[in-house]
Amino acid sequence: MLKIAVLSGKGGTGKTTISASLASIIHGCAYVDCDVEEPNGFLFLNPKLDCNEQVLVQVPQIDEQLCNGCGACVRICQFNALALVRGKVLVFPELCHHCGACSLVCEPKAITEIDRSIGNISWSSNSCFFQGRLNIGEPAGIPIIKRLKQEVSKKIDLKAAVFDCSPGASCSVVNSLEGCDYASIVTEPTPFGLHDLKIAVELVREMKIPAGVIINKSGDQDAIIDEYCLAENVPVSLRVPYSRKIAEHYARGILPVEDDEALAISLTELYHSIRGEVCS
């Protein structure tokens, strides 16, 4: 399975437009919404989400009868998810990163790990569409992304999968990128687009993932991106012209490839050139 990540750095550059378009025109290619804080790919692809599963993490529960108030668990916790107040341990489950260190160091064995749901993953049984969704108020969606990717990997009949990442270059994006064969970085020809593009390029280099840049809303300002890409030897693999029609379609939940044959052809060519580059 060819795994393509679509990331951007800056939000609103067109990750979802590009990744959903790509997945919709390539036969046997799944769309995977890794932006678990606010998944929106379903608005364009209208999948039938007939499979779903809660994502559980393990958090500590303290048996007050067994706890001797030594505070070893509080000291070992790297995420400030525990506090020791007058000999009693307070747990802050939202801050827990589920590493299990607290229960390992607990001598009286007062800590058991209990399941806590932080969100869910859902997918279509035809394996065309996958998405993760983090519960409102939860700070960290990494376990959902990991579980989502695991589910995608099980579908061995898939030719390819496009992973629509969250904006930025945080742990969520790192986890979405992990194990991908190629990264498409979507940017726009603005100073903000360039600024965040640089961060995204640094990230994929650090992770040794081959990458190309897609300039969305392309027009007479492209030089700002082209100069950087030339200097850094990053290929510009596609330009999507600035178009009011694309924006109008987007607002109605319609992908541009639905009536823009030129774009559909360019994206198909892009897909085949990525496949060629990765498999050569």
């Binding site: 509080v74 995420f79 400030n80 998810a81 506090a83 020791l84 107040v85 007058r86 009693k88 307070l90 802050f92 939202e94 801050l95 409102i136 108020g137 700070p139």
Partner: protein, 120 residues
Amino acid sequence: MKIAISAKGRQINDSVDMRFGRTEYFILTDENGQLIDVLDNAAQSATGGAGIAAAQAVLDSGADILITGQLGPNAMRVISSASIPAYQAVEGTILENIQAFAAGKLSKITESGPAHAGQR
């Protein structure tokens, strides 16, 4: 009586820091403003749970009273579980706040401020 107060500097004439979890220092004084100790706030650079870690440090210092700008919900839970009364600081120096507290002019913090992360 040991008073802990969030501070921007290490001296009694430095300004109070209205932040709790991300304050630079905690200054510990007695009710007359006599300096007892200064704690560097290790939680200042924490990626998460700064309020909890800072509250733990205040508890561990043996403070009887806390004066600060605002407590987030997590820090509030730790401080109130420990039954440490928290008082709302006013803009000014550490000494001015101690004097205001001694004169009964500071109000108690009974509700937590907005969460920054890690809490609903």
